[in-house]
């Protein structure tokens, strides 16, 4: 576990980058520091591996003050992924990945063998191992950056806006990849981003920082979306919080009905469309085992009759869910009454419906 205890970073010119920050980064989970530029998120991250030292307060790693550890030694035990990947241009991919093992004095053979394992782990073709960084795409370079950070199997991983320099499609795939890796590796990850959608997608816990380096709110992403602590957090979260929150509710509990006769399927049972006049009308599908309530609702909205088609992993029809079935679940997961903005009826306002708050578990492993 990493803890910040009253940590302040004040520069010589008087600028305060981080102001009296106290928080706990839980072990084995992804904690995201998010906020606008100038909120001290990167400074906070870099104080963990002492690339920046705090002015006052202390940061502990498993109970030990990081200031008591020699910086290079500390850093070799903490993986670090930087924004532009920061690969060493003069080293082949395999040697880039083996950087920390080399620093730790592993033999070249052992370090390279480990590097090859990691390339595979992050989904890179081993044939890339003997290329140089400039020969790889931005997305591939970023994967190498992740592999390099994991090379010596550090328990802690620091990621400083690692995916912000790649295009949105590559970014989404890198994010999915990170979640997949994390489900296997269970590292303690501190992830810095200015992108709230990324924070909500990746974080088990999200710490929202405001300009001047103060913590505005720290909560699971579902809680954050329903119960922003103040106007700043609400502004920062942006629009459609209600809909976005549905991403954290599994569609598993949606009540399914048997497929009606006007749903046309092929011989394997895959949907083809709704019978409508002489032709077939559009339909939407969701997989109750893997998808969120947001996907189910979206599927219902895509069908002219408001009925979502539930399919299994092979895409075969398992049943259908009408808007009434979806609405039952929506009611069950309605936000709690006692919110900071309770009673308001505007689209941004508080939630009047009674229901259990989303459990802590619903914020774990965001479904995609």
């Amino acid at each position: 576990m990493i803890t910040f205890e009253d940590v302040t970073k004040r520069y010589r010119d008087g600028t305060v980058a981080v102001d009296d920050l106290s928080l706990e980064v839980p072990t084995g989970a992804i904690t995201v520091f998010v906020g606008p530029s100038g909120c001290g998120k990167t400074t906070s991250l870099r104080m963990i591996n002492r690339m920046i030292d705090a002015t006052s307060g202390r940061i502990t790693l498993n109970g030990q003050d990081v200031r008591e550890i020699d910086p290079p030694t500390l850093r070799r035990g903490i993986g670090y992924v930087i924004q532009q990947a920061g690969l060493f241009p003069h080293r082949k991919i395999v040697d880039n990945v083996a950087t920390v093992p080399y620093l730790l004095g592993w033999s070249k053979k052992k370090a390279r063998a480990r590097a090859m394992e990691l390339l595979e782990l992050v989904g890179l073709d081993p044939s890339l191992a003997h290329r140089y960084p400039f020969q790889l795409s931005g997305g591939q370079q970023q994967r190498v950056g992740v592999a390099r950070a994991l090379a010596a199997d550090p328990p802690v991983l620091l990621m400083d806006e690692p995916f912000s320099a790649v295009d949105p499609i590559v970014r989404a795939s890198l994010q999915d990849e990170l979640l997949r890796l994390q489900s296997e590796l269970r590292k303690t990850i501190v992830f810095v981003t200015h992108d709230i959608d990324e924070a909500v997608k990746l974080g088990d816990t999200v710490a929202v920082l405001r300009v001047g380096g103060r913590l505005a709110q720290m909560a699971g992403p579902a809680t954050l979306l329903t119960e922003p602590a103040d106007d700043f957090v609400r502004e920062f979260l942006g629009r459609d919080r209600g809909i976005r929150r549905l991403s954290f509710i599994s569609a598993k509990e949606v009540r399914l009905s048997p497929p009606p006769a006007d749903l046309v399927t092929d011989e394997d049972g895959r949907p083809l469309g709704w019978r409508s006049g002489g032709g077939l009308a559009a339909y939407g599908v969701f997989n109750p085992e893997a998808d969120s309530l947001r996907v189910a609702l979206d599927a219902a909205l895509l069908s002219p009759n408001g009925v979502a088609v539930a399919v299994d992993e092979e895409g075969r029809v398992r049943g259908v869910a009408g808007r009434d079935a979806i609405d039952e679940l929506l009611a069950e997961y309605a936000p709690p009454v006692a919110g900071p903005a309770a009673g308001a009826q505007s689209s941004r306002g508080g939630p009047p419906t009674v229901g259990p708050p989303p459990g802590a578990g619903s914020s774990q492993g965001a479904p995609t």
Binding site: N49, T73, R75, I82, H90, F134
Partner: protein
Amino acid sequence: MSDEPLIRWDWIARNWANGGPTAISALLENHIVMAFLPVLLGLVVALPLGLACARWRWLYQPTAALMNVTYSLPSLVLFSIFLSVTGLTRSTVVIPLTFFALAILIPAVVDGLASVPDSVRQSAVAMGFRPARRLLRVELPVAVPVVLAGLRIATVSSISLVSVGALIGQGGLGNLFIDGWQRQFYTPIVVGIVLIVLLAVLADGLLVLAQRLLTPWSRARRTA
């Protein structure tokens, strides 16, 4: 003189290796030594100085200013100054040329280190490199293309500047020009020019080759 051919091949044949100090081959050898020694010495001095300038930025401006002033001095003036110290020896040419090389190489080293992307330096720190190892294994290797580009300029300019030393009798192939002008006999002049240009082209080619071999990682990026 009008019936005199531009090049008298028999003169070249007789003077290529006549065993004396004015043989063309002896002058060529001299030229090579006096051209490359300053570049080599310059590199040896420029590396630590350049590192110091990169480390303590306030050092760079005065150093660069001093080097630029030196570079602006006509080489002949420098030769005359050193003549009183080192006499009619090679050193009188080599020492000033070393200063000229420094004027090119120190900025090359500083610019080379500045060319290391910040993300590369940051990630080296974050991986746990200690400063000395980071310099030797990351920053200097990444600076090589820029330093080599400076080295190419320094080498070619040194090859050309050696000839001026002929005015004090230590000019390598430059002596052929003095000889030619004094006798109104063009063959030595042409030989001198051709050999100096060949030498420069050859040296530059070798450095380009060295660059390809040393930095395979930047080749495609340069041509791309």
